[in-house]
Subunit: 297 residues, 2 copies
Protein backbone atom coordinates (compact mmCIF):
# COMPACT_ATOMS: atom_id res chain seq x y z
CA UNK A 1 0.00 0.00 0.00
CA UNK A 2 3.02 2.33 0.44
CA UNK A 3 4.11 4.55 -2.44
CA UNK A 4 6.49 7.36 -3.38
CA UNK A 5 5.28 10.77 -2.16
CA UNK A 6 3.75 12.81 -4.95
CA UNK A 7 4.57 16.21 -3.50
CA UNK A 8 8.10 15.95 -2.12
CA UNK A 9 10.17 18.92 -3.33
CA UNK A 10 13.64 18.32 -1.89
CA UNK A 11 15.78 15.94 0.09
CA UNK A 12 16.50 12.30 -0.66
CA UNK A 13 13.90 11.21 -3.21
CA UNK A 14 13.16 7.65 -4.22
CA UNK A 15 14.26 7.71 -7.84
CA UNK A 16 16.61 5.68 -10.04
CA UNK A 17 17.08 3.09 -7.30
CA UNK A 18 17.92 5.66 -4.63
CA UNK A 19 16.39 5.36 -1.20
CA UNK A 20 13.56 7.78 -0.40
CA UNK A 21 10.53 8.29 1.84
CA UNK A 22 7.16 6.61 1.43
CA UNK A 23 3.56 7.61 2.12
CA UNK A 24 0.51 5.47 2.80
CA UNK A 25 -1.95 7.82 1.10
CA UNK A 26 -3.89 8.05 4.34
CA UNK A 27 -1.91 10.73 6.09
CA UNK A 28 1.36 9.10 7.14
CA UNK A 29 4.85 9.78 5.87
CA UNK A 30 7.71 7.27 6.36
CA UNK A 31 11.23 8.68 6.29
CA UNK A 32 13.97 6.02 6.06
CA UNK A 33 16.84 6.39 8.54
CA UNK A 34 19.66 8.23 6.78
CA UNK A 35 23.17 6.75 6.86
CA UNK A 36 26.11 7.56 9.17
CA UNK A 37 23.95 7.89 12.27
CA UNK A 38 21.86 10.72 10.83
CA UNK A 39 18.67 8.62 11.03
CA UNK A 40 19.30 7.89 14.69
CA UNK A 41 20.05 11.60 15.31
CA UNK A 42 16.83 12.69 13.65
CA UNK A 43 14.77 10.11 15.53
CA UNK A 44 16.40 11.22 18.78
CA UNK A 45 15.39 14.81 18.03
CA UNK A 46 11.76 13.86 17.29
CA UNK A 47 11.59 11.85 20.53
CA UNK A 48 13.06 14.71 22.56
CA UNK A 49 10.94 17.39 20.89
CA UNK A 50 7.64 15.53 21.08
CA UNK A 51 8.02 15.00 24.84
CA UNK A 52 9.60 18.36 25.68
CA UNK A 53 7.24 20.29 27.93
CA UNK A 54 9.17 23.53 27.35
CA UNK A 55 8.00 23.70 23.73
CA UNK A 56 4.87 25.88 23.60
CA UNK A 57 1.78 24.37 21.94
CA UNK A 58 1.51 27.17 19.38
CA UNK A 59 5.04 26.24 18.19
CA UNK A 60 4.39 22.49 17.90
CA UNK A 61 2.15 23.04 14.90
CA UNK A 62 5.20 24.12 12.87
CA UNK A 63 6.68 20.61 13.18
CA UNK A 64 5.41 17.37 11.60
CA UNK A 65 3.68 15.18 14.21
CA UNK A 66 5.90 12.21 15.19
CA UNK A 67 4.47 8.68 15.50
CA UNK A 68 7.62 6.72 16.42
CA UNK A 69 9.57 4.44 14.12
CA UNK A 70 8.63 1.41 12.03
CA UNK A 71 10.74 -1.15 10.16
CA UNK A 72 9.64 -1.30 6.52
CA UNK A 73 10.82 -2.61 3.16
CA UNK A 74 12.94 0.25 1.75
CA UNK A 75 11.57 2.21 -1.24
CA UNK A 76 14.41 1.00 -3.46
CA UNK A 77 13.87 -2.66 -2.53
CA UNK A 78 17.22 -2.88 -0.75
CA UNK A 79 15.73 -4.66 2.29
CA UNK A 80 14.18 -3.84 5.67
CA UNK A 81 15.07 -0.47 7.20
CA UNK A 82 13.81 1.58 10.16
CA UNK A 83 11.65 4.56 9.13
CA UNK A 84 10.56 7.61 11.12
CA UNK A 85 6.76 7.80 10.98
CA UNK A 86 5.39 11.34 10.62
CA UNK A 87 2.21 13.10 9.55
CA UNK A 88 2.18 13.50 5.80
CA UNK A 89 1.67 17.27 5.92
CA UNK A 90 0.41 17.65 2.32
CA UNK A 91 -1.82 14.55 2.25
CA UNK A 92 -5.06 16.56 2.30
CA UNK A 93 -3.93 18.97 -0.45
CA UNK A 94 -4.91 18.12 -4.03
CA UNK A 95 -2.60 20.49 -5.97
CA UNK A 96 -0.10 21.94 -3.50
CA UNK A 97 2.72 24.26 -4.49
CA UNK A 98 5.62 23.63 -2.12
CA UNK A 99 9.02 25.17 -1.48
CA UNK A 100 11.91 23.91 0.66
CA UNK A 101 14.33 26.56 1.93
CA UNK A 102 17.37 25.65 4.01
CA UNK A 103 17.77 28.26 6.75
CA UNK A 104 21.08 29.57 8.13
CA UNK A 105 24.24 31.12 6.68
CA UNK A 106 26.23 28.19 8.10
CA UNK A 107 25.33 24.48 7.82
CA UNK A 108 28.40 23.22 9.72
CA UNK A 109 28.65 23.55 13.48
CA UNK A 110 31.30 23.19 16.21
CA UNK A 111 32.41 19.60 16.75
CA UNK A 112 31.94 18.22 13.23
CA UNK A 113 34.74 16.45 11.34
CA UNK A 114 37.11 18.59 9.29
CA UNK A 115 35.86 16.90 6.12
CA UNK A 116 32.20 17.65 6.87
CA UNK A 117 33.12 21.22 7.90
CA UNK A 118 34.92 21.82 4.59
CA UNK A 119 32.12 20.35 2.48
CA UNK A 120 29.45 22.42 4.25
CA UNK A 121 31.53 25.61 4.06
CA UNK A 122 32.08 25.06 0.32
CA UNK A 123 28.32 24.59 -0.23
CA UNK A 124 27.49 27.60 1.94
CA UNK A 125 29.86 29.84 -0.07
CA UNK A 126 28.80 28.48 -3.47
CA UNK A 127 25.10 28.91 -2.78
CA UNK A 128 23.24 31.92 -1.36
CA UNK A 129 23.59 30.66 2.24
CA UNK A 130 26.43 33.00 3.21
CA UNK A 131 25.05 36.04 1.39
CA UNK A 132 21.33 35.61 2.17
CA UNK A 133 21.31 33.43 5.28
CA UNK A 134 19.20 30.86 3.41
CA UNK A 135 19.25 28.84 0.20
CA UNK A 136 16.65 27.15 -1.94
CA UNK A 137 16.68 23.35 -1.71
CA UNK A 138 13.98 22.64 -4.29
CA UNK A 139 10.38 23.50 -5.14
CA UNK A 140 7.31 22.37 -7.00
CA UNK A 141 5.00 25.08 -8.29
CA UNK A 142 1.63 24.69 -10.00
CA UNK A 143 1.62 26.58 -13.30
CA UNK A 144 -1.86 28.05 -13.70
CA UNK A 145 -1.34 28.80 -17.39
CA UNK A 146 -0.24 25.31 -18.31
CA UNK A 147 -2.18 23.46 -15.58
CA UNK A 148 0.82 21.39 -14.58
CA UNK A 149 3.55 21.38 -11.97
CA UNK A 150 7.04 22.74 -12.45
CA UNK A 151 9.59 20.86 -10.40
CA UNK A 152 12.96 22.48 -9.77
CA UNK A 153 15.42 20.23 -8.02
CA UNK A 154 18.50 20.73 -5.88
CA UNK A 155 21.07 20.58 -8.68
CA UNK A 156 19.39 23.60 -10.32
CA UNK A 157 18.68 25.71 -7.23
CA UNK A 158 22.19 25.02 -5.93
CA UNK A 159 23.44 27.43 -8.62
CA UNK A 160 20.96 30.20 -7.72
CA UNK A 161 22.28 33.69 -7.09
CA UNK A 162 20.50 36.40 -5.04
CA UNK A 163 18.23 37.50 -7.92
CA UNK A 164 17.24 33.90 -8.74
CA UNK A 165 16.34 33.30 -5.10
CA UNK A 166 14.08 36.36 -5.08
CA UNK A 167 12.53 35.46 -8.45
CA UNK A 168 11.69 31.92 -7.28
CA UNK A 169 9.86 33.33 -4.25
CA UNK A 170 7.84 35.60 -6.55
CA UNK A 171 7.02 32.73 -8.94
CA UNK A 172 5.82 30.67 -5.99
CA UNK A 173 2.83 33.02 -5.61
CA UNK A 174 2.18 33.98 -9.25
CA UNK A 175 -0.63 33.05 -11.67
CA UNK A 176 1.14 33.77 -14.94
CA UNK A 177 3.35 31.20 -16.62
CA UNK A 178 6.47 30.21 -14.73
CA UNK A 179 8.38 30.66 -17.98
CA UNK A 180 7.54 34.36 -17.71
CA UNK A 181 10.43 36.40 -16.29
CA UNK A 182 8.01 38.88 -14.67
CA UNK A 183 5.95 36.94 -12.12
CA UNK A 184 2.74 38.83 -11.28
CA UNK A 185 2.59 37.73 -7.61
CA UNK A 186 -1.20 37.40 -7.96
CA UNK A 187 -1.52 35.17 -4.88
CA UNK A 188 1.05 36.97 -2.70
CA UNK A 189 -1.55 38.57 -0.50
CA UNK A 190 -3.55 35.32 -0.12
CA UNK A 191 -0.51 33.07 0.53
CA UNK A 192 1.94 35.39 2.31
CA UNK A 193 -0.46 37.90 3.92
CA UNK A 194 -3.29 37.78 6.43
CA UNK A 195 -3.51 36.44 9.96
CA UNK A 196 -3.17 32.82 8.75
CA UNK A 197 -0.63 33.45 5.98
CA UNK A 198 3.02 32.42 5.65
CA UNK A 199 4.32 35.74 6.98
CA UNK A 200 2.29 35.56 10.20
CA UNK A 201 3.50 32.00 10.76
CA UNK A 202 7.15 32.88 10.12
CA UNK A 203 6.90 35.81 12.54
CA UNK A 204 5.48 33.51 15.23
CA UNK A 205 8.40 31.14 14.70
CA UNK A 206 10.85 34.07 14.79
CA UNK A 207 9.51 35.20 18.18
CA UNK A 208 10.17 31.71 19.55
CA UNK A 209 13.70 31.61 18.10
CA UNK A 210 14.52 34.91 19.82
CA UNK A 211 14.33 33.22 23.20
CA UNK A 212 14.45 29.43 22.77
CA UNK A 213 17.74 27.85 23.84
CA UNK A 214 16.54 24.22 23.69
CA UNK A 215 17.80 23.27 20.23
CA UNK A 216 20.14 24.46 17.50
CA UNK A 217 18.52 23.60 14.18
CA UNK A 218 21.61 23.13 12.00
CA UNK A 219 20.84 22.47 8.32
CA UNK A 220 17.06 22.55 8.86
CA UNK A 221 14.58 23.72 6.25
CA UNK A 222 11.41 25.73 6.19
CA UNK A 223 8.93 23.88 3.98
CA UNK A 224 6.07 26.14 2.91
CA UNK A 225 3.10 25.07 0.83
CA UNK A 226 -0.42 26.04 -0.14
CA UNK A 227 -3.41 24.62 -1.98
CA UNK A 228 -3.90 25.77 -5.56
CA UNK A 229 -7.32 24.21 -5.94
CA UNK A 230 -8.98 26.78 -3.69
CA UNK A 231 -7.23 29.54 -5.60
CA UNK A 232 -8.44 28.07 -8.88
CA UNK A 233 -12.06 27.87 -7.73
CA UNK A 234 -13.80 31.22 -7.79
CA UNK A 235 -14.94 31.96 -4.28
CA UNK A 236 -12.25 29.83 -2.72
CA UNK A 237 -10.72 32.18 -0.19
CA UNK A 238 -8.36 30.00 1.85
CA UNK A 239 -5.07 28.98 0.33
CA UNK A 240 -4.39 26.86 3.46
CA UNK A 241 -0.82 28.19 3.44
CA UNK A 242 1.41 26.44 5.95
CA UNK A 243 4.96 26.51 7.24
CA UNK A 244 6.66 23.38 8.63
CA UNK A 245 10.22 22.93 9.82
CA UNK A 246 11.74 19.75 8.39
CA UNK A 247 15.05 17.82 8.39
CA UNK A 248 16.50 17.37 11.84
CA UNK A 249 19.53 15.16 11.26
CA UNK A 250 21.92 17.81 12.61
CA UNK A 251 19.99 19.29 15.52
CA UNK A 252 22.02 19.89 18.70
CA UNK A 253 21.18 20.93 22.25
CA UNK A 254 21.11 24.71 22.62
CA UNK A 255 22.96 24.72 25.96
CA UNK A 256 21.57 28.08 27.02
CA UNK A 257 22.42 29.90 23.76
CA UNK A 258 19.83 30.89 21.13
CA UNK A 259 20.18 29.52 17.58
CA UNK A 260 21.48 32.83 16.18
CA UNK A 261 22.44 31.17 12.90
CA UNK A 262 18.89 29.98 12.21
CA UNK A 263 17.33 33.17 13.58
CA UNK A 264 19.47 35.47 11.41
CA UNK A 265 18.66 33.46 8.29
CA UNK A 266 14.98 33.30 9.18
CA UNK A 267 14.86 37.11 9.58
CA UNK A 268 16.47 37.52 6.15
CA UNK A 269 13.97 35.09 4.62
CA UNK A 270 11.10 36.97 6.28
CA UNK A 271 12.39 40.25 4.82
CA UNK A 272 12.32 38.72 1.31
CA UNK A 273 8.72 37.59 1.81
CA UNK A 274 7.77 40.99 3.26
CA UNK A 275 9.34 42.78 0.28
CA UNK A 276 7.22 40.76 -2.16
CA UNK A 277 4.11 41.30 -0.07
CA UNK A 278 4.74 45.04 0.26
CA UNK A 279 5.67 45.59 -3.39
CA UNK A 280 2.21 44.22 -4.10
CA UNK A 281 0.73 46.89 -1.84
CA UNK A 282 2.72 49.50 -3.73
CA UNK A 283 1.50 48.22 -7.10
CA UNK A 284 -2.04 48.45 -5.80
CA UNK A 285 -1.38 51.95 -4.46
CA UNK A 286 0.05 53.16 -7.78
CA UNK A 287 -2.94 51.60 -9.57
CA UNK A 288 -5.26 53.43 -7.22
CA UNK A 289 -3.52 56.75 -7.86
CA UNK A 290 -3.72 56.13 -11.59
CA UNK A 291 -7.50 55.99 -11.39
CA UNK A 292 -7.80 59.23 -9.46
CA UNK A 293 -5.18 61.33 -11.19
CA UNK A 294 -3.15 59.74 -13.94
CA UNK A 295 -1.01 62.84 -14.40
CA UNK A 296 0.80 62.50 -11.10
CA UNK A 297 2.03 58.95 -11.74
Amino acid sequence: MLKDPEHQVAGHMAKDGRLGPLVDGEGQFFKPFQSNGRGESEDKFYKSFSSNKNVPDHIRRYFPVYHGTQVLEASNGSGKLPHIVLDDVVSSYSTPSGMDVKIGARTWYPGVSEQYFKQCLKNDRETTSVSLGFRHAGFKIFDHQESRFWIVEYKVVHRYKVDDARLALRKFVSSNSLADSLPNCAFASEVFGGSKGILAQLLELKAWFETQTLYHFNSCSVFMFYENETVLMKGGDDARAQVKLVDFTHVLDGNGVIDHNFLGGLCSFIKFIQDIHESLDKLYFVGHLTCVSPSIV
Copy 2:
Protein backbone atom coordinates in the same frame (compact mmCIF):
# COMPACT_ATOMS: atom_id res chain seq x y z
CA MET B 1 47.04 69.31 23.41
CA LEU B 2 46.20 65.83 22.04
CA LYS B 3 46.69 62.77 24.25
CA ASP B 4 46.06 59.04 24.44
CA PRO B 5 42.44 58.20 25.33
CA GLU B 6 42.03 57.19 28.96
CA HIS B 7 39.01 54.95 28.45
CA GLN B 8 39.65 52.98 25.27
CA VAL B 9 38.97 49.29 25.90
CA ALA B 10 39.78 47.57 22.60
CA GLY B 11 41.13 48.10 19.11
CA HIS B 12 44.46 49.57 18.12
CA MET B 13 45.82 51.32 21.20
CA ALA B 14 48.72 53.74 21.27
CA LYS B 15 51.17 51.78 23.36
CA ASP B 16 54.79 50.65 23.02
CA GLY B 17 55.24 52.71 19.87
CA ARG B 18 52.10 51.39 18.20
CA LEU B 19 49.76 53.73 16.42
CA GLY B 20 46.53 54.56 18.23
CA PRO B 21 43.77 57.15 18.48
CA LEU B 22 44.03 60.50 20.23
CA VAL B 23 41.60 62.71 22.13
CA ASP B 24 41.66 66.47 22.74
CA GLY B 25 40.05 66.27 26.19
CA GLU B 26 37.27 68.57 24.96
CA GLY B 27 35.01 66.00 23.34
CA GLN B 28 36.78 64.97 20.14
CA PHE B 29 38.29 61.59 19.25
CA PHE B 30 40.85 61.23 16.43
CA LYS B 31 41.15 57.79 14.87
CA PRO B 32 44.19 57.34 12.61
CA PHE B 33 43.51 55.80 9.18
CA GLN B 34 44.22 52.07 9.43
CA SER B 35 46.50 50.46 6.84
CA ASN B 36 45.62 48.56 3.66
CA GLY B 37 42.75 50.86 2.70
CA ARG B 38 40.82 50.22 5.90
CA GLY B 39 41.08 53.88 6.97
CA GLU B 40 39.69 55.02 3.61
CA SER B 41 36.90 52.40 3.89
CA GLU B 42 35.92 53.54 7.35
CA ASP B 43 35.96 57.21 6.34
CA LYS B 44 33.83 56.35 3.31
CA PHE B 45 31.31 54.65 5.59
CA TYR B 46 31.12 57.63 7.97
CA LYS B 47 30.63 60.02 5.02
CA SER B 48 27.89 57.83 3.55
CA PHE B 49 26.17 57.20 6.87
CA SER B 50 26.21 60.80 8.07
CA SER B 51 24.54 62.03 4.88
CA ASN B 52 22.16 59.08 4.37
CA LYS B 53 18.58 60.32 4.68
CA ASN B 54 17.28 56.74 5.02
CA VAL B 55 18.86 56.35 8.46
CA PRO B 56 16.22 57.25 11.08
CA ASP B 57 17.17 59.90 13.64
CA HIS B 58 16.57 57.58 16.59
CA ILE B 59 19.20 55.21 15.12
CA ARG B 60 21.85 57.89 14.56
CA ARG B 61 22.39 58.25 18.29
CA TYR B 62 23.92 54.74 18.33
CA PHE B 63 26.79 55.92 16.15
CA PRO B 64 29.61 58.33 17.05
CA VAL B 65 29.05 61.73 15.41
CA TYR B 66 31.43 62.27 12.46
CA HIS B 67 33.29 65.54 11.94
CA GLY B 68 35.31 64.73 8.81
CA THR B 69 39.03 64.02 8.65
CA GLN B 70 42.10 65.90 9.81
CA VAL B 71 45.81 65.36 9.18
CA LEU B 72 47.66 65.12 12.50
CA GLU B 73 50.99 64.02 13.91
CA ALA B 74 50.53 60.28 14.62
CA SER B 75 50.36 59.15 18.26
CA ASN B 76 53.59 57.16 17.90
CA GLY B 77 55.47 60.07 16.36
CA SER B 78 55.80 58.34 13.00
CA GLY B 79 54.77 61.44 11.04
CA LYS B 80 51.64 63.11 9.68
CA LEU B 81 48.62 60.89 9.08
CA PRO B 82 44.94 61.45 8.23
CA HIS B 83 42.60 60.88 11.21
CA ILE B 84 38.83 60.42 11.32
CA VAL B 85 37.41 63.03 13.70
CA LEU B 86 34.56 61.75 15.89
CA ASP B 87 32.77 62.65 19.08
CA ASP B 88 34.67 61.25 22.06
CA VAL B 89 31.68 59.36 23.43
CA VAL B 90 33.05 58.92 26.98
CA SER B 91 34.55 62.42 27.36
CA SER B 92 31.88 63.55 29.86
CA TYR B 93 32.16 60.40 32.02
CA SER B 94 34.52 60.53 34.99
CA THR B 95 34.77 56.79 35.84
CA PRO B 96 33.17 54.85 32.99
CA SER B 97 33.10 51.06 32.82
CA GLY B 98 33.21 50.07 29.14
CA MET B 99 32.95 46.85 27.17
CA ASP B 100 33.64 46.20 23.48
CA VAL B 101 31.84 43.20 21.96
CA LYS B 102 32.38 42.22 18.32
CA ILE B 103 29.02 41.17 16.87
CA GLY B 104 28.46 38.40 14.31
CA ALA B 105 29.32 34.70 14.01
CA ARG B 106 31.34 35.50 10.87
CA THR B 107 33.87 38.33 10.45
CA TRP B 108 34.76 37.47 6.84
CA TYR B 109 32.40 38.25 3.98
CA PRO B 110 32.01 37.41 0.28
CA GLY B 111 34.71 38.98 -1.90
CA VAL B 112 37.61 39.06 0.57
CA SER B 113 41.00 37.51 -0.21
CA GLU B 114 41.52 33.83 0.60
CA GLN B 115 44.15 34.79 3.17
CA TYR B 116 41.84 37.21 5.00
CA PHE B 117 38.98 34.69 4.80
CA LYS B 118 41.12 31.97 6.41
CA GLN B 119 42.43 34.26 9.16
CA CYS B 120 38.93 35.48 10.05
CA LEU B 121 37.47 31.95 9.98
CA LYS B 122 40.25 30.74 12.28
CA ASN B 123 39.58 33.57 14.74
CA ASP B 124 35.81 33.01 14.55
CA ARG B 125 36.22 29.31 15.37
CA GLU B 126 38.83 29.84 18.11
CA THR B 127 36.77 32.48 19.90
CA THR B 128 33.10 32.42 20.86
CA SER B 129 32.03 34.08 17.57
CA VAL B 130 30.77 30.88 15.91
CA SER B 131 29.13 29.45 19.03
CA LEU B 132 27.65 32.65 20.49
CA GLY B 133 27.39 34.98 17.51
CA PHE B 134 29.61 37.50 19.33
CA ARG B 135 32.97 37.71 21.07
CA HIS B 136 34.51 39.95 23.66
CA ALA B 137 37.14 42.33 22.27
CA GLY B 138 38.20 43.92 25.57
CA PHE B 139 36.78 45.74 28.56
CA LYS B 140 37.58 48.11 31.41
CA ILE B 141 35.54 47.74 34.57
CA PHE B 142 35.63 49.89 37.70
CA ASP B 143 36.19 47.73 40.76
CA HIS B 144 34.11 49.22 43.56
CA GLN B 145 35.93 47.23 46.25
CA GLU B 146 39.39 48.29 45.19
CA SER B 147 38.41 51.69 43.69
CA ARG B 148 40.43 51.05 40.55
CA PHE B 149 39.88 49.91 37.00
CA TRP B 150 40.42 46.38 35.73
CA ILE B 151 41.49 46.30 32.11
CA VAL B 152 41.14 43.08 30.19
CA GLU B 153 42.64 43.19 26.73
CA TYR B 154 42.15 41.32 23.50
CA LYS B 155 44.85 38.67 24.05
CA VAL B 156 43.00 37.54 27.20
CA VAL B 157 39.39 37.71 25.97
CA HIS B 158 40.38 36.00 22.71
CA ARG B 159 40.67 32.77 24.76
CA TYR B 160 37.23 33.15 26.40
CA LYS B 161 34.79 30.24 26.25
CA VAL B 162 31.01 30.53 26.62
CA ASP B 163 31.07 30.63 30.44
CA ASP B 164 33.82 33.27 30.50
CA ALA B 165 31.80 35.43 28.13
CA ARG B 166 28.75 35.22 30.41
CA LEU B 167 30.81 35.84 33.54
CA ALA B 168 32.39 38.96 32.05
CA LEU B 169 28.94 40.40 31.30
CA ARG B 170 27.93 39.76 34.91
CA LYS B 171 31.11 41.37 36.27
CA PHE B 172 30.43 44.42 34.11
CA VAL B 173 27.44 45.27 36.34
CA SER B 174 28.65 44.02 39.74
CA SER B 175 29.73 45.88 42.87
CA ASN B 176 31.77 43.13 44.51
CA SER B 177 35.42 42.58 43.69
CA LEU B 178 36.15 41.51 40.13
CA ALA B 179 38.42 38.84 41.57
CA ASP B 180 35.27 37.24 43.02
CA SER B 181 34.00 34.34 40.91
CA LEU B 182 30.38 35.09 41.92
CA PRO B 183 29.54 38.57 40.60
CA ASN B 184 26.53 40.03 42.44
CA CYS B 185 25.11 41.93 39.45
CA ALA B 186 24.19 44.78 41.83
CA PHE B 187 23.90 47.32 39.00
CA ALA B 188 22.22 45.05 36.44
CA SER B 189 18.84 46.64 36.82
CA GLU B 190 20.26 50.19 36.69
CA VAL B 191 22.59 49.57 33.73
CA PHE B 192 20.75 46.93 31.68
CA GLY B 193 17.13 47.63 32.66
CA GLY B 194 14.70 50.53 32.42
CA SER B 195 13.54 52.61 29.48
CA LYS B 196 16.99 54.21 29.05
CA GLY B 197 19.08 51.12 29.84
CA ILE B 198 21.33 49.00 27.63
CA LEU B 199 18.61 46.43 26.90
CA ALA B 200 16.12 49.01 25.63
CA GLN B 201 18.81 50.49 23.39
CA LEU B 202 19.86 47.10 22.00
CA LEU B 203 16.23 46.24 21.26
CA GLU B 204 15.81 49.52 19.38
CA LEU B 205 18.90 48.68 17.31
CA LYS B 206 17.60 45.14 16.71
CA ALA B 207 14.31 46.47 15.33
CA TRP B 208 16.27 48.56 12.83
CA PHE B 209 18.47 45.62 11.82
CA GLU B 210 15.36 43.54 11.08
CA THR B 211 14.54 45.78 8.14
CA GLN B 212 17.59 47.87 7.21
CA THR B 213 19.29 46.78 3.98
CA LEU B 214 21.57 49.83 3.66
CA TYR B 215 24.75 48.42 5.20
CA HIS B 216 26.33 45.13 6.26
CA PHE B 217 28.33 45.80 9.41
CA ASN B 218 31.05 43.15 9.08
CA SER B 219 33.41 42.98 12.09
CA CYS B 220 31.66 45.84 13.91
CA SER B 221 31.46 46.11 17.67
CA VAL B 222 28.89 47.16 20.20
CA PHE B 223 30.63 49.42 22.72
CA MET B 224 28.59 49.79 25.92
CA PHE B 225 29.52 51.94 28.86
CA TYR B 226 28.12 53.61 31.96
CA GLU B 227 29.13 56.08 34.63
CA ASN B 228 30.24 54.63 37.95
CA GLU B 229 30.37 57.98 39.73
CA THR B 230 26.58 58.29 39.83
CA VAL B 231 26.34 54.76 41.14
CA LEU B 232 28.91 55.52 43.83
CA MET B 233 27.10 58.64 45.02
CA LYS B 234 24.07 57.89 47.14
CA GLY B 235 21.08 59.36 45.38
CA GLY B 236 22.64 59.16 41.96
CA ASP B 237 20.01 57.38 39.96
CA ASP B 238 21.22 57.60 36.37
CA ALA B 239 24.03 55.32 35.24
CA ARG B 240 23.97 57.10 31.84
CA ALA B 241 24.29 53.68 30.19
CA GLN B 242 24.92 53.92 26.45
CA VAL B 243 25.39 51.70 23.43
CA LYS B 244 27.44 52.81 20.41
CA LEU B 245 28.37 50.88 17.31
CA VAL B 246 32.06 51.28 16.50
CA ASP B 247 34.66 50.06 13.97
CA PHE B 248 33.49 50.37 10.40
CA THR B 249 36.52 49.34 8.36
CA HIS B 250 34.66 46.38 6.78
CA VAL B 251 31.17 47.80 6.18
CA LEU B 252 29.63 46.96 2.81
CA ASP B 253 26.48 48.03 0.97
CA GLY B 254 23.50 45.88 1.93
CA ASN B 255 22.19 45.58 -1.64
CA GLY B 256 18.64 44.85 -0.56
CA VAL B 257 19.53 42.11 1.93
CA ILE B 258 19.43 42.55 5.72
CA ASP B 259 22.62 42.03 7.75
CA HIS B 260 21.51 38.62 9.06
CA ASN B 261 24.98 37.91 10.44
CA PHE B 262 24.98 41.01 12.66
CA LEU B 263 21.29 40.61 13.54
CA GLY B 264 21.67 36.97 14.64
CA GLY B 265 24.67 37.81 16.82
CA LEU B 266 22.93 40.87 18.25
CA CYS B 267 19.90 38.73 19.23
CA SER B 268 22.18 36.24 20.97
CA PHE B 269 23.95 39.08 22.83
CA ILE B 270 20.57 40.54 23.84
CA LYS B 271 19.52 37.13 25.21
CA PHE B 272 22.65 37.02 27.39
CA ILE B 273 21.89 40.49 28.77
CA GLN B 274 18.22 39.54 29.32
CA ASP B 275 19.24 36.38 31.19
CA ILE B 276 21.37 38.40 33.60
CA HIS B 277 18.66 40.99 34.03
CA GLU B 278 15.95 38.34 34.62
CA SER B 279 18.03 36.20 36.99
CA LEU B 280 18.23 39.35 39.09
CA ASP B 281 14.43 39.53 39.13
CA LYS B 282 14.35 35.93 40.30
CA LEU B 283 16.87 36.60 43.06
CA TYR B 284 14.80 39.55 44.18
CA PHE B 285 11.65 37.43 44.10
CA VAL B 286 13.25 34.69 46.19
CA GLY B 287 14.51 37.34 48.62
CA HIS B 288 11.03 38.80 48.87
CA LEU B 289 9.51 35.40 49.63
CA THR B 290 12.16 34.86 52.28
CA CYS B 291 10.95 37.90 54.21
CA VAL B 292 7.34 36.87 54.10
CA SER B 293 7.64 33.18 54.73
CA PRO B 294 11.14 31.75 55.13
CA SER B 295 9.83 28.21 55.45
CA ILE B 296 8.73 27.92 51.84
CA VAL B 297 12.12 28.79 50.37
